[in-house]
Symmetry: C3
Subunit: 468 residues, 3 copies
């Protein structure tokens, strides 16, 4: 018995499955190009062992603890740290047992696929996690984590990662990235510029963030021109640590293209703390366009990840803080929202803007039509809750006919769950193999083309779109 | 020749079909647990024969008469009663002939599946209804309805119904439920508390409904506190007739959590009849939160069925009244709308709120993510127009990966069409068998797990979610 | 080697494929009924050869040039005429080479299917277009276009077109239609009444259009009554050239039913040029209802094509004008928007209104429920970006269960790309054959019924719905 079905996620019809398996085999061992994600650069810098199994696989993974919590398990009991000073469980084994008892909740979810993949391929388990074997699992993983081949750099090599991007705040000094570089290790880890803390007036500590940010580049925060120069400066600093992209996680995709005087007035207002909700939204919107203009200047690829209602539960936010599984997708408009940015720089051939969505109804209606005409636009892969077997199929079915393959950018694992990275790329490669096999079997693509496109989707487009 | 294909609604690929058939067979004869529906308790209380075929199968079934009407058949000619005193057809045979002539309109619709199921399994027809055999059908059904085994209680037993819930207004005295109980008959028929007539200021007769409602519990309607107490009282009364749930059919999912003073002022305003549309909506929104708080107190499971634009055609409403097939789904927001309720009681582990939607675009975007984190939330099954083969597949494909199976609640037949109940559960079981077989064949679930989950989906989750 | 897979677009499972192929074969050679499209009546009137390959297949096809442009090819280099007097490429061979070099961009798109169909069946190519064979393609097509059998009328007959509708402005004198009629040629080419230039205050030249329009019927534009009479007159004129339908391409589906005085005031205001955006939208909305009322009078079938944000890029619009691939679908509401029109005339059995959408989320939620009850409503086929294999499957899967087949109207090719017409109908017939075969294999339809329905979908419903 094994945890993983050899032909998992491939089409069921035998002829299709054979072709899909062959296509998958062609990219199964291709290098992992990971242009967007949230692993911690400190791991690669220090290369120390990962802590206990619960700290590695349960407590930091919002997919995991949100599902357990949805069935009544308290977040404290899963070791999720309290932001309000309250007590959380620290006994990894206790947390792990809760996880084992409830592992059936993950049936048919992507988490189960990712976890089983790590359990089998990294730790050698062949029996599925349950209440009965939770202790055995805990012991075996604990033991394994002490071995040198389980350290971050060894796993990086074993996972065949060609390049991985992390995501940092402009306030970050990138010391871990510097340390990686200075260490002489050959792994390619690059950063990405995520300016939310200094462009979103609703970000906690915004005004002081901006002050600190401007100071970093020797600028004063009193003028918008200086603030923009600080961005220029900081983007160049990030680029010097390998960054080829920026990332923007606004609640909406709203953009604006105000004139300079209006922008300066808005900047002063949001810094003063007296801006109302509409003005704060306007500033975020204006800053997307400003960032796009800076991308025209410096060539950094721009990623826009809009549409999450963050921290939906006030009580949970007060207790546990951000990123606790309470970010819920919302309906997102792109057509009108992106208008001002596209009006300003949409025809620039030196600009590349990659769009993501949590609102699948926009795939065929808005995003594929937009990416299928604007030269600067590309479509990011299925994101977050949609980074799953069914989600990826819907993505291909709803975007390919209008945007084609070459307005998409390959796969993003977008994760801080290090052990899930190979699993996630494997899922994407299997789905794409199944999709391409279906196109061949229905006469929409030749077999020869499918063998070319599978390479594009598995790694080439990611390298190209992100200039890696 | 028969009307029903033995392997209907199962996947086509032979290997998949075999597994799906085996899974289906495991639950084919499982008891029917029907926690939400609209059958008439009087049927079970009086146990008299059903009237003629048209009165049983055409005139009261909005799915049936709306389709006939869409092709130009006048509602009057189908015997739909006029609300304005006009004349409608009363000759069942004439109505039935119209139905037979137009039966081809139902090709590929769920109504056809439900009707053919009843025609074959209840009445023994093997030839499909048409203009040519309409009289033969009419005669045979008429004849059958006179036989004792066609009476409501006999059918209840034959359908293997373990428990069925009806839905009553708080103004209902539950006399039919009392009569059922007093009759000594063993069938388990429970009520459900549907307070729309006394919480929705736009419901016809709202103010007098509230007065009558408060009086029922010996309360005056002059204070909001007394009104809430009347709810407490009436909910307990319903619970004493087996109710384990409440049901709320608002046009939107809006909720509010106003303070007591504001709520009292709003209550006075809506009772006065001087509230504007926004205030009436605010009262409905506030009442959803109040009902949730009462559910925390008394444990009744709360069902929210939002999103229908009721009585879309004014002229038809004037002529025929409510529920004439002119209720049209609309775009529904859940993320912002449910915020206040969830902020107030979302983390209560004693609360259970079951959400339904008519807007499938919210499945993957909003509802699965919400139900996949809030401990109080569960996701109701595919509803109304989506209670169909394709609708149920979309439901599973769009909700399972994020909410899992255990944040869903099994099947609801939600019908007043008594004869369709076994057919509807049969469809759900077949779709779930097909879905689970597909998961197994693509390595997302083991066969052993599938045999467990199919039991969960067919009856266990319904019992558990509704505390039946 | 050939370009076209014999069983393309049919289901993959062998049993299903066999049945689907048989169903497809039954309608493969059925006549083409094309009730809505944009071919140029001048072609049929003059019957002169088509110009060079690029002018025929690249430059006028927005699907083709938008995809090339999305990957950075300048529209000028594709010969797209500049509206601002700038220079565009005129060398067809150069344009064609660019097309050939980039033909891989169309992988898995409907354009590739349509183009390959024309390349193989019209020009006899067996090798796929590429940079390497672009010149060979260019030469062979150029040569072919000179032959008599490639002239518009010969192709019309070869394509087995029973009837085709073009679309004209009310300002059009229909001289080409007159010429066709007078020529004695037997091909049936009819017009359709598209009054956007005189009912949409945002249409360029609106006020002078209205003046010219009223003058055509000997009316003054100073009164709304005269303006309506001009419509009556012009609709009758169009009907005399075979028109059986009108077409309305508003940005939203908004309708209004104002009283006459308010309508007259609105008319005066929009003509004066002083109307604000809301008033201009109100006029469009009112005019949809006015057109519906005229359709009750004269029996012309009304088509509503809402939901495109036209000319999304200001800079591209200034450079190249309308219809340059920058029309992007937007979220569209039908339930509230169509309310006033349906309230006014929705129950008229002499009225037929065909609804289209670019917002697929409205299929199951709004459009199928509306078309499944209002006697005047029918559902148009999958439109524009959704006129594709995946798009048509989604259409059938999301509309059939609630609206049935008989509230739909068959296929529209809706194209100005003459050579793509047989390909488009072929795609629709294949998808429908696959869909019907799936219904049969899953017991939702008998084989006998499927053979009847495939004829309905391929041509009968189009004739019937459009009164052709």
């Amino acid at each position: 018995m094994t945890l993983l079905h050899e032909d998992r996620l491939l089409p069921v019809e035998p002829g299709l499955r054979t072709l899909a398996r062959d296509l998958y085999t062609a990219v199964k061992d291709a290098p992992i190009v990971s242009p967007h994600g949230h692993t911690d650069p400190r791991w690669y810098a220090e290369d120390t062992p990962f802590p206990d199994p619960a700290q590695l696989l349960v407590t930091p993974d919002h997919y995991v603890f949100r599902m357990l919590h949805s069935q009544g398990v308290a977040l404290e009991d899963l070791g999720v740290p309290r932001a309000d000073g309250g007590v959380s469980e620290t006994d990894g084994r206790k947390i792990w047992r809760l996880f084992g008892q409830n592992y059936h909740l993950f049936r048919a979810t992507p988490s189960r696929i990712w976890l089983d993949h790590a359990f089998e391929t990294v730790f050698g388990f062949t029996e599925r996690l349950s209440a009965a074997n939770a202790d055995m699992y805990y012991d075996r993983i604990s033991e394994a984590l002490e071995r040198p081949e389980m350290r971050p750099r060894a796993l990086f090599e074993r996972f065949n990662i060609e390049v991985i991007a992390t995501t940092e705040s402009p306030l970050d000094d990138l010391k871990w990235h510097r340390k990686i570089r200075e260490s002489g290790w050959g792994g390619r880890v690059v950063t990405a510029y995520r300016p939310d803390p200094v462009v979103d007036p609703d970000f906690s500590g915004f005004a002081s963030n901006v002050e600190e940010f401007c100071a970093l580049g020797g600028q004063s925060s009193t003028s918008f021109a200086a603030y923009l120069d600080a961005h220029r400066d900081r983007r160049a600093y990030f680029a010097s640590f390998g960054a080829t992209s920026t990332d923007h996680g606004h609640a909406t995709a709203a953009t604006l293209n105000l004139d300079r005087a209006a922008t300066e007035a808005l900047y002063d207002k949001v810094l003063s703390g007296r801006a109302d909700a509409a003005e704060r939204e306007a500033f975020r919107a204006q800053m997307l366009t400003e960032m796009a203009k800076l991308s025209v200047e410096d060539g950094l690829v721009m990623q826009i990840h809009p549409g999450a209602a963050r921290n939906h539960s006030g009580p949970v936010f007060e207790r546990f803080g951000r990123d606790k599984g309470y970010d819920i997708p919302t309906r997102t408009d792109y057509v009108r929202a992106l208008g001002p940015l596209l009006e300003a720089v949409g025809e620039e051939t030196d600009l590349r803007v990659i769009l993501f969505t949590l609102d699948e109804s926009s795939y065929a209606r808005e995003l594929a039509p937009l990416a299928g005409v604007y030269p600067c636009l590309r479509l990011g892969p299925a994101w977050w809750f949609h980074d799953s077997f069914e989600g990826m199929w819907r993505y291909r079915q709803m975007t390919t006919e209008t945007a084609g393959f070459y307005n998409t950018v390959g796969f993003n694992d977008d994760t801080r769950a290090y052990l899930s990275i190979p699993a996630r790329h494997d899922v994407a490669r299997r789905v794409d193999a199944g999709f391409l096999a279906t196109l061949v079997a229905t006469g929409r693509l030749t077999e020869e083309e499918a063998y070319e496109v599978i390479q594009d989707l598995a790694h080439r487009l990611a390298r190209q779109a992100y200039k890696l």
